[in-house]
């Protein structure tokens, strides 16, 4: 478990929920330099649609949390088992939260967002479920 410097109370709450769900060892936190954090959750199963069995899921919880959406999400490089390209909500990028490697950017907006429902943990779970069914 990575220690992190003092953040806002809402960010601390979100990190507690993420660690409780995914396990403290799976959640890596890096400061983003502007009062927020980059979160990486490691070793998550992505289902039979991809040649890779497991990957990481990353996102930023910015200093504007909980007013800001969690958007976009990032994963390690994945290739589809059916040989097709990814859908239009997925792009190849590099990401500041893991600058040394190729990543996929997953762009799923929360329309009519409710901060009490669209929490970082709930959205991470939803993004993973969405990814496995693509």
């Amino acid at each position: 478990m990575t220690t992190h410097p003092a953040t806002t109370a809402p960010i601390a709450t979100a990190l507690t929920e993420l660690r409780a769900h995914f396990g403290a060892d799976a959640v890596t936190i890096t400061p983003d330099g502007s009062g927020g954090v980059y979160v990486v959750i490691s070793d998550l199963p992505v289902g039979p649609a991809y040649t890779q069995a497991r990957t990481w899921l990353g996102f930023q919880i910015s200093a504007a949390h909980p007013d800001a959406d969690i958007y976009p999400h990032y994963t390690g490089a994945l290739t589809r088992t059916d040989g097709q390209p990814h859908g239009q909500a997925i792009q190849h990028v590099t990401w500041q939260g893991r600058p040394g490697e190729q990543a996929l950017q997953i762009s799923r907006r929360s329309n009519h967002r409710d901060p009490a429902v669209d929490t970082p943990i709930n959205k991470a779970v939803r993004i993973l479920a969405w990814l496995t069914t693509q």
């Binding site: 806002t8 109370a9 809402p10 983003d32 330099g33 502007s34 009062g35 927020g36 930023q60 910015s62 200093a63 504007a64 909980p66 007013d67 800001a68 959406d69 969690i70 958007y71 976009p72 792009q91 990028v93 590099t94 990401w95 500041q96 950017q105 762009s107 907006r109 929360s110 967002r113 901060p115």
Partner: protein, 463 residues
């Protein structure tokens, strides 16, 4: 039309009362019966440019004859039960406790010997209970005096009460005396004839931020500097581009590639050589930029980004700093120009909120908070440059600064009007737009971030 004496900002501790609370407090204390009434304000606090700022968050009116009644000495006092309930709330929510009552008179007020004796008897114990500042406050409709006690035992007079409404009211124990000698420069003679010597001195004493120094912010900066504002905080991380030149006052080709803050600073110094400028070539989400905004008396928001909107709105609501948003929208679709809007929106604490008006998109805010490379990648549908032209920017900038100068010199007819102004040049129409507030907004609703100042959010009892 209410007439208010203009008081320049006073050095020392102050209390800011949002317009909505002031309206309620005024109605409670001055219902027209000329009798004594009482109330308590609970307040956050922060360090301001001229001293401690108490930030009124909630008004608890004392019921006549029940919570506020004649005491043993014959003078009215808050009941023991009312004091106990509210000092415990101040302790639990870590807020300043401000007992208020009214006196007769209009433009002058002071505590009576009985008032001061009761403070000396009661406040040392109350500050020990709450462990927060206690400030006795006495009001007439146009004057205020305060006796501020700290938990460490120190005691000071409150320098002023500030009410950021359509007029920016500053109440003091007595009106500021016009200076015997002429303190303002001779060059301001024509505008002193509008604002008075005290109005001009008020401009000189103010710290004002301009967030975003594009076409609108550049003009606002020039107007404020020429008006005589003493200290400008200029915020923009962007560089001048060749395509900006037709809309940037004072710009030449040699400004291309240099920060917009450098151009705006030069423009302001040309207008007013003795001006103080804090130039911040950075984005608003940097924490020290936000700290600078909190040291201001007024903010002008002339940037489009969601983060600029969010953090300006946060300073308005959490630190009770009035702001004006100014901008121009020119929709162009397939070469066809739609309805053009030049908008100025008044953001008063508790009565004008960019979240409540639906003007901040949470996903756009998330993207805006990213590091530059991630931000560019996250906008995977590239935007096209917006149409823009100087006279439309001038319409919004002039409306914004004109409203501000009327507010500061208390020249608006209506103290409590908080409408924005929408120009539609194509139809030659001009409308007032009233903003909404949601009762559960995280920023402007009474039980949330509103007026908390520096208090950590973790202490919010309701969250």
């Amino acid at each position: 039309m209410a007439h208010h004496a203009v008081n320049p900002p006073a050095t020392g501790a102050s209390l800011t009362i949002p317009a909505r609370l002031w309206q309620q407090l005024h109605a409670h204390l001055f219902p027209g019966d000329h009798a004594a009434h009482g109330a308590v304000l609970l307040a956050g606090w922060t360090d301001g440019p001229r001293g401690l700022r108490l930030l009124a968050r909630e008004l608890i009116p004392a019921r006549d004859h029940i919570d506020y009644q004649p005491g043993t000495t014959g003078y009215h006092a808050l009941s023991a039960a009312f004091v106990r309930d509210n000092i415990l709330r101040a302790r639990d929510e870590h807020l300043a406790y401000i007992p208020v009552h009214n006196h007769g008179g209009t433009t002058r007020v002071q505590f009576s010997p009985t008032d001061l004796a009761s403070h000396e008897r009661g406040y040392p114990t109350l500050t020990q209970i709450s462990d927060t500042p206690i400030c006795g406050l006495v009001l007439t409709p146009q004057a205020a005096a305060g006796d501020l006690w700290h938990p460490d035992g120190t005691r000071t007079d409150l320098a002023e009460v500030v009410i950021p409404a359509n007029n920016l009211l500053r109440l003091r124990p007595q009106p500021t005396a016009p200076s015997a000698s002429d303190t303002s420069h001779a060059s301001y003679d024509r505008q002193v004839r509008i604002f008075g010597d005290l109005g001009q001195r008020t401009f000189q004493a103010m710290r004002v931020a301009v967030i975003g120094l594009g076409g609108v912010g550049n003009l606002i900066t020039e107007y404020l500097a020429r008006l005589g504002i003493g200290h400008l905080i200029l915020v923009d991380d962007d560089l001048v581009d060749e395509t900006n030149l037709p809309r940037l006052s004072g710009a030449t080709a040699s400004d291309v590639g240099h920060p917009k803050t450098a151009l705006a600073s030069r423009l302001a110094r040309q207008a007013q050589p003795t001006i103080t400028i804090t130039s911040l070539t950075e984005r608003v989400e940097q924490t020290h930029v936000q700290a600078e905004l909190r040291q201001c008396d007024w903010l002008f928001l002339a940037a489009d980004g969601a983060a600029a909107r969010h953090f300006t709105n946060a300073a308005v609501q959490q630190y009770l700093i009035p702001a004006t948003q100014a901008g121009v929208k020119i929709p162009v679709r397939d070469g066809t120009v739609g309805q053009i809007h030049a908008v100025t929106r008044l953001l008063l604490p508790g009565t004008g909120c960019l979240w409540c008006d639906g003007l901040i998109n949470p996903t756009d805010l998330a993207i805006d908070m990213h590091a530059p490379a991630d931000r560019a990648a996250a906008h995977y549908v590239p935007g096209t440059p917006a149409a823009s032209v100087l006279p439309l920017n001038a319409l919004a900038a002039a409306e914004a600064v004109s409203h501000f100068m009327h507010a500061v010199s208390c020249l608006h007819d209506d103290d409590l009007d908080h409408a924005g102004v929408l120009h539609r040049p194509r139809t030659r129409t001009r409308d007032l737009i009233n903003s909404r507030t949601h009762p559960d907004c995280r920023w402007c609703a009474p039980q949330k971030q509103f007026a908390l100042g520096d208090r950590p959010t973790t202490n919010v009892a309701s969250s």
